[in-house]
Symmetry: C2
Subunit: 135 residues, 2 copies
């Protein structure tokens, strides 16, 4: 299951992509428009900024803005930033790999093989979808 954090983040980014031409967007705008708790959204946009997906301008008339064209922003990057691993098991994660405690040998683990299939499939969708596709 996706966390609300990720879902909210995606909705916020989509909102920004829709209003892309109009410069900066304020937290409050997005929050009310997309029904996201203000302070929660604030922390989400902050992490998106830290990972280089968003830029921000302080002071009056400030706000957040996309650092890349929507068509350049892949789902893989967004979701990994907000949610973490895309894989369903740590032992099949490309970016957050971790060995299983119980499994003596990954190559012969049947669950491992199955989850690699799922991961590859999901990854293909996320790689081929950009923010522009969501608008």
């Amino acid at each position: 299951m996706l966390s609300k954090r990720t879902k909210y983040g995606l909705k916020a980014l989509t909102y920004m992509a829709r209003n892309h031409s109009e410069g900066t967007v304020q937290i409050a705008m997005i929050a009310t428009s997309e029904n996201i708790p203000h302070k929660f959204l604030e922390s989400i946009l902050l992490t998106l900024k830290k990972t280089g997906l968003l830029g921000a301008k302080k002071g009056k008339g400030g706000g957040y803005y996309l650092l890349k064209e929507p068509a350049e922003m892949k789902m893989t990057d967004i979701i990994r930033t907000l949610e973490g691993p895309i894989a369903m098991l740590p032992c099949v994660s490309l970016n957050y790999y971790e060995k299983c405690d119980d499994c003596p040998d990954e190559d012969t683990c049947s669950v491992h093989k199955l989850m690699i299939q799922v991961r590859d499939n999901t990854l293909q969708i996320f790689r081929n979808t950009t923010l522009a596709d969501l608008v």
Copy 2:
């Protein structure tokens, strides 16, 4: 992310499928062989029994056994029993549907559409994979 509960359950079922010809299998056997905490596994097998995937025989010489041929046991059934919804959002779940609080209209929600894609893809894998494929 899959819970350990689901992962352990899948491993246990696979173990049972491998030793399918030999009648009942005891919890202790599976637990030691697959490195699963005994009592935890007990509760997992219990729920698999309640949903009709496993049968059990009490008393000396008893144990658990598969109620269907491995080739008849679909991943969808197993995973839904142990993990719950397969979808990444409640609003795209077939079996555990729930409306989102924030979303006024699902049909125009971009995140919704994306997650339907992912669900359909994952579902196709799980529908076409049986316990026999894992052995």
